[in-house]
Amino acid sequence: MANDPSSKNRIDEATGTEFVGHEWDGIEELNTPLPRWWLWTFYICIAWALAYTVAYPAWPMISQATEGMMGWTSRGQLANEMEDADLARKEVRDQLAATDISNLQGNPDLMQKAVAGGRAAFLVNCVQCHGSGAAGSPGYPNLNDDDWLWGGDLATIETTLKHGIRQPGDDMTRFSAMPAFAGMFDTAQLDALTEHVLSLSGKGQTSPAGAQAYADNCAICHGPAGEGDRMQGAPRLNDAIWLRGSTKADIQQQILQPRMGVMPSWSGRLDPATIKMLAAYVHSLGGGEDFAEAQVEAPVTPVDEQAE
């Protein structure tokens, strides 16, 4: 250590390494540079980063970032991926578009794919009103049960989907109106009528006054026994299912100041294949009507119906 501390080429005897020339209280720094490979990797990374900011959107400007030479955008990437996904489904969609909905059940494989596609479309477009399990809520019909306002076979469901219910601006929409009876009945008459409506499904006590009021005002649409009329979307009153509740107050409210729901028409918003898929899905929920058995393979033979 007899060397002049300012000399740059002083060598540390123990390690044979040059000193840098810095000294703090006798502790000196040795010149041990970064490994060459590390340094080069670092430089390459810098070069790569610069090239990257040129090629891809990177530098923030006043209104938006630089666009990048490659024209890449995250939205564009999403659009491409969606396009690829659409292309992958194209075969099924084309097949669906070419199949008449009433023949769909004859092709179990296509039906299965339609149901799967319909489930996805349902979760995007329908759950807001009908619920994620399609169980509905007061005022929004439950699609799992066997009670249909307008009919529950595939073609009817498709028509309802296409044109909606009470959709303004759609000429073919399903339309029905329950008249408001506010002011038409006194309290006793209203009570008797309500009781009669409940009695149709075995829940209330009928009376001559109630039966008369029903026959005069309601039977024309809802039927003499409350069986409803699907032609005009008049709900069945003699079953266990009540769209807007089965208490007396609920029923009276619906008689005096009826509320009527609107189902949007989907024909402009969804393509025909998706609408078919949705119809197939809704039909598959367990309440589907006019069930056509698959003609292929015929694996189904019910036996022993009297078991237990």
Binding site: P108, G133, N144, D239, I241, G286, F291, P302, D304, E308
Partner: protein
């Protein structure tokens, strides 16, 4: 291993890395070498040949004896077919293989490392290639030291080409286990095979080329965890390749021994044990991690001892316990003695009972299964007539290679009937029949309808096959209802 440092304090070595010293092991013949040949032939034949064995399973299943069908999620092994949910058989087999290794280690030490480990077998194979192309130990050492010239380049190129061929063959054989072998070979050469097939072959070719051709004993010494685990499993009753130093030391040549009778031990320091060692160690330094117990040094030493007329077994398989007895002058005990080891017996019992349990399960397992999951959204559905409907997803598994009719019925839940997504509600009944395709799972949406007033309760779906002998399975599930229990 470390020599005491004679360097001055503060010296820093120029390199912290010690280059590998190439191992050029000498050819040797002897009982252990022949056993190694035998094991090599058998293991390689199993590896390369197994995918080509055919096995007739009828028209619905593949006819390859051993097939891991990842896409179809089936594992075929001769007349055994494993479905994904039966994967515990494979897990059990792997556990048995693990305990089997413990068992082998407990009886005969590192026999797996010495004879059957793929790294050992392929290293051995590649070392034979070396010998075949470049000659035996001395010729190879000369060639190694020689400067690079046209002849050396040609030799090395040819040798590496053979390495690469073996490596490619090894990688190619691997993928045959995952698809129909003859079809895959055709597709592979026509360029129609899946990209993953080519990638797998490429990776396995490269790893075999590198690990068998160049890394060799370094894999055992530096990479493989098994020697470390084994060193914890060996004890004074484990068989090890041992240099009997009490008999061999001090070493001296035959001439020296003739001059000073009684001064020297049996080891004449001929270095043959080192020359033949495939990992390049000197067994006379004692048990060490580099020793894979291939016993080639025993062959070498026995031959030398025979030539110079001294008794064989200066290097021999021996337990530490026996070594101590022998060093103390007692008679060697017979070889079967190593079996009288509580640990060996315990491993054997565990291994054996696992095997019997797996065989029992395999023999008694059902080939029909039913699982049921109830819909949770909505949990139940009120129907027009007041009855209550629940929906379920049934999975009917037909785990045999022919289509079967199966009868699904409701157990419990009085008055309930069911229909499905393929059976109309008009035909609702308590029992329905389905034809499940060969070797497939049929997913069924079942709608169970119970009369008005049915309370929440447990019930079961039961499946019975309509063939002979009938099999059945049931699955309990819940019927949800607005009426509590």
């Amino acid at each position: 291993m470390n020599k005491p440092s004679k360097l001055p304090a503060g010296h820093v070595p120029e390199k912290l890395y010690e280059a590998r010293k190439a191992v050029h092991n000498k050819r040797i013949d002897g009982p252990f070498r022949r056993f190694k040949w035998f094991v090599m032939v058998v293991t390689l034949a199993i590896y390369y040949g197994t995918p080509w064995i055919r096995w007739d399973r009828g028209p619905y299943s593949p006819d390859q004896a051993v097939l891991i069908d990842l896409a179809g999620r089936r594992f075929y092994m001769f007349n055994i077919e494993i479905w994904p949910h039966e994967f515990y058989f494979v897990a059990g087999l792997l556990i048995m293989a693990g305990i089997g290794l413990f068992l082998i280690t407990s009886v005969v030490g590192r026999a797996w490392c010495g004879y059957a480990c793929p790294q050992t077998v392929w290293t051995d194979l590649f070392q034979h290639v070396d010998r075949f192309i470049d000659g035996d130990r001395n010729a190879r050492m000369r060639l190694d030291a020689a400067p690079w010239g046209p002849q050396k380049i040609a030799r090395r190129g040819f040798k590496w080409l053979i390495y690469l061929t073996i490596a490619f063959w090894t990688g190619g054989a691997w993928i045959m286990y995952f698809a129909d072998a003859p079809t895959l070979v055709r597709e592979f050469w026509a360029g129609d095979a899946a990209p993953v097939a080519y990638a797998t072959v490429a990776v396995l070719t490269l790893t075999t080329f590198a690990m068998g051709g160049f890394m060799r004993e370094q894999v055992c010494i530096y990479m493989c965890p098994w020697p470390r685990i084994q060193s914890a499993m060996l004890d004074e009753k484990s068989l090890l390749v041992t240099y009997k130093d009490w008999r061999g030391e001090p070493r001296g040549s035959i001439k020296k021994a003739e001059k000073n009778p009684g001064e020297y031990g049996d080891c004449i320091d001929c270095m043959q044990c080192v020359a033949v060692c495939p990992t390049g160690i000197d067994i006379r330094e004692g048990p060490q991690i580099g020793c894979i117990t291939c016993a080639l040094c025993i062959d070498a030493c026995d031959r030398v001892m025979k030539d110079i007329g001294r008794p064989r077994g200066l290097i021999d398989y021996a337990t530490l316990e026996d070594c101590e007895r022998e060093a103390a002058g007692e008679q060697p005990r017979p070889a079967w003695h190593v079996l009288k080891h509580p640990r060996t017996i315990a491993y054997f019992l565990i291994w054996g009972s696992l095997g019997i349990a797996l065989l029992f399960l395999l023999g008694t397992r059902d080939h029909t299964s039913l699982t049921v999951s109830p819909d949770r959204n909505p949990p139940y559905m009120l129907m027009s007539d007041g009855s209550i409907r629940n929906s379920y997803t049934l999975k009917l598994r037909n785990m045999v290679g022919r289509p079967r009719d199966m009868e699904v019925s409701l157990e419990g839940l009085p008055g309930a009937v069911f229909w499905t997504d393929t059976i109309s509600s008009d035909q609702a009944a308590r029992t329905q029949t389905f034809t499940v395709k060969a070797d497939e799972t049929q997913v069924i949406r079942a709608y169970v309808m119970a009369p008005d007033g049915t309370a929440q309760q447990e019930f079961s779906f039961k499946v019975t096959t309509l063939d002979d002998p009938p099999e059945s399975d049931d699955n309990e599930t819940r019927f949800t209802s607005p009426i509590g229990e």
